[in-house]
């Protein structure tokens, strides 16, 4: 495991074992990290909560890898050698229910296009790939719970493609506005994938 990030509303923000100080809580914490460590990406404010937490975690992870906030200065910017595979339990259910609320009242029927585009969990992987111009495999899978073995099977399958040299992997969950958990890591072809994922999902501060 090259680098890793944990974001959750109770544990806060941890990058490679080092805690990042944040004052806000809940999604305010994610906005605070965006303003302090990312910035200058207006699309962020249009994202749903699942995308925001996944996107911000990936920015911390990739900035750590390259030592730069500048996306074009990052290692692997614009490459087909990097894949992304993420997992969670609820898919995009939180946004699905928010979208449903815009179409459930016949007297007030105004379906929101901006919400509708986020009613797929794999939009998170797409947002990260677009930002970094990754052309490798991307995938978002739903599991009943965190399971390092099941996750490792999927991640290892990415490396069956000889072009794939590294991957952003992990658990990205947001099942309510103030309830999120991200455990994200950067792994390489030669890493012990199952062990790395086990360490990532079992890490406790």
């Amino acid at each position: 495991m090259r680098h890793w990030v944990i974001l959750d509303e109770t544990r806060g923000v941890v990058v490679d074992g080092e805690r990042i100080g944040v004052e806000a809580q809940g999604m305010g914490m994610i906005d605070e990290i965006y303003r302090g460590y990312v910035g200058n990406y207006m699309k962020y404010f249009k994202m749903d909560s699942l995308c925001k937490v996944g996107f911000v975690a990936s920015e911390l992870l990739l900035a750590k890898e390259s030592g730069s906030r500048d996306v074009e200065q990052r290692k692997c910017y614009g490459t087909a050698e990097r894949a992304i595979v993420l997992f969670n339990e609820s898919g995009s259910l939180y946004t699905d229910t928010r979208y449903q609320a815009t179409i459930s009242d016949e007297e007030n029927y105004f379906p929101s296009p901006a919400l509708f585009v986020y009613t797929l969990a794999n939009i998170v992987t797409g947002e990260i790939a677009i930002r970094n111009k990754y052309y490798g495999e991307t995938n978002f899978l739903v599991l009943p719970e965190k399971n390092s073995q099941a996750m490792a099977v999927q991640v290892s399958a990415l490396f069956a493609d000889k072009e794939t040299q590294s991957a952003i992997v992990g658990w990205v969950e947001c099942d309510a506005e103030e309830h999120f958990e991200v455990r994200m890591a950067l792994v390489g072809r030669d890493d012990n994938i199952e062990n790395d994922i086990k360490t990532l999902i079992e890490w406790k501060n």
Partner: protein, 85 residues
Amino acid sequence: MEELIQTLKQQIIEVLNLEGMKPEDIDNDAPLFNEGLGLDSIDALELIVLMEKKYGIKLQDPKAAKDVFQSVRVMAEYIEQHRSK
């Protein structure tokens, strides 16, 4: 008309989540798409919803919508002429 333009700018900022932008940052005559505010196709759909929700105007012809969304002033003029609420 000026009051409607200001209201419309505020509504656009809110519905499109244009973080950090204020009504005075939007030029009445600047293009909303491409080189103007840089809005995208999803934003265009949100503006269509805004027109219906706030002003009772249904824009069903994409060509017409493109013409209406030329600028905030053009939008406001169209709303003045066609609004049902």
